[in-house]
Symmetry: C2
Amino acid sequence: MSNRTRQQLVETTSRLLERQGYHGTGLNQIVRESGAPRGSLYYYFPEGKEALVAAALAEQGDRMRRFTSTILSEIEDAVEAVDRVVERLIEFFSVSEHCGGAPLAAVALETSASSERLRTTCADAYQGLIDVFAQKLTQAGYPLQQAQVLATTIVAGIEGAVILSRTQQSTLPMEQVRAALHTLLTQAALAQRC
Amino acid sequence: MSNRTRQQLVETTSRLLERQGYHGTGLNQIVRESGAPRGSLYYYFPEGKEALVAAALAEQGDRMRRFTSTILSEIEDAVEAVDRVVERLIEFFSVSEHCGGAPLAAVALETSASSERLRTTCADAYQGLIDVFAQKLTQAGYPLQQAQVLATTIVAGIEGAVILSRTQQSTLPMEQVRAALHTLLTQAALAQRC
DNA sequence: GTCTATATAGAGATAGAC
DNA sequence: GTCTATCTCTATATAGAC
C-alpha cells in the first residue's frame, strides 16, 4: 500500500534522527529498521535523504505542536498548563531511556549552516510550537510582547533542559527548569497585576 | 613542535564540531583545514576520532567556564553579571554568522546514546559551567537549592536559545531569553527578601 | 512498486618507510 | 614525528530488470 510504506520510512527516520542526528543516520539503517521494501525509498523520496529528513522533521513538529496544544486547551490556568506540558515531557523522556525529547535540535544544529531546506523546516516547526504557547499566554492576559518572550523562553528552556538531561542521564535538569518556568510565569503574572 | 600541531588539530576539531556535529565532521577535513601534517593525527591521538573529539569538547568546556567565570567576577551584582554573560554570547553569535554558540550541544545529542566517553565529557563540561553560575548566585545570597535551579535554567535557556537563534538566523530568541532570565533572577531575589 | 546490482565517493584506521 | 599507501567499511545515489 502506498502511504503505509512511506509512513514507515518517515517514522523510522524520526526515531533515528532523535538519537543519532542527520549524518549519523544512514539510509541503509532507515530501510532496514523500518521494514520497508528496499526499493521504495527513492520511489517515495526521489530527492533523496534531505527530502526524507525534511518530511520527518515536519511531522515531528506537527506532533509536538498538537501534543502541546491539546494539553494547553485542557487546563484553563496558563501557568499550570505549561507546568503540565513539561511534566508530560519528563514522562516521555523517562520512558525513552534518557535518549529522546529533542527531535529537532540535533538536526537543527548539524545542518543549519549547510542546508537551507532543513534549517527552515526546523525554524517553522519551532515557531509553530512557540506560537501555541504565546497564544495561551495572551489569552490568559499577558501582554503580547511579554507573551512572546515567555513562549520563546519556555521552548528554549525545554530544549536546553533536554540536552542537559540526556548528558546527565537524569530528569533533574528538566525538573529544575520546570520549577523555574513556573516561578517565571507566576511572577510575571503578579508583576502585571500590580 | 609537539604541542603546536596537536593544538591545531584540537582547535580545528572544535570549530568544525560546532557547525557540523560529530558524524558530519571527518578526520580528513580536520587534517586538511588545520594545516597539521597528515601523519600526525594518530600519533597524538592513538585512540582515534573519539579521543580527539573528547579533547576538543573538554577544551571547549574549559573555555566556556573561564569565559563565564571572568565576567561573573568582574561585575558584582549577580543579575547584571548574568545579563552581561548572555550579551557577550550574543555578540559572539553575531560575528560567527549565526552558526556558533553551542559547541557541545550537537555532539551531546548525537552521541549521548552511543558513546559513554563523549556523553560524560559533555556532562562534565556542562556541570562545570552550571557550578560557576550557582556559585555566583549563592555568593549573592540566593539559597543553595534555588541557586542550583536558577543556574541550570540559565545554562539550559542559553543552549536552547542558541538552537532557536541558529535556525531562525536571528539574535531575537537569545535577546528574549536574556530578558526572561533577567526577570527570573530579579524576582527570585525579591521574593527571597520579602 | 519493488528488486538487485553497481557506481562513486568518503569514512576511519593501519602498516611500514623515512 | 611525519609521510604515503592501502585496507575495509559504509555512505548516497542510480540503472535497469521484474
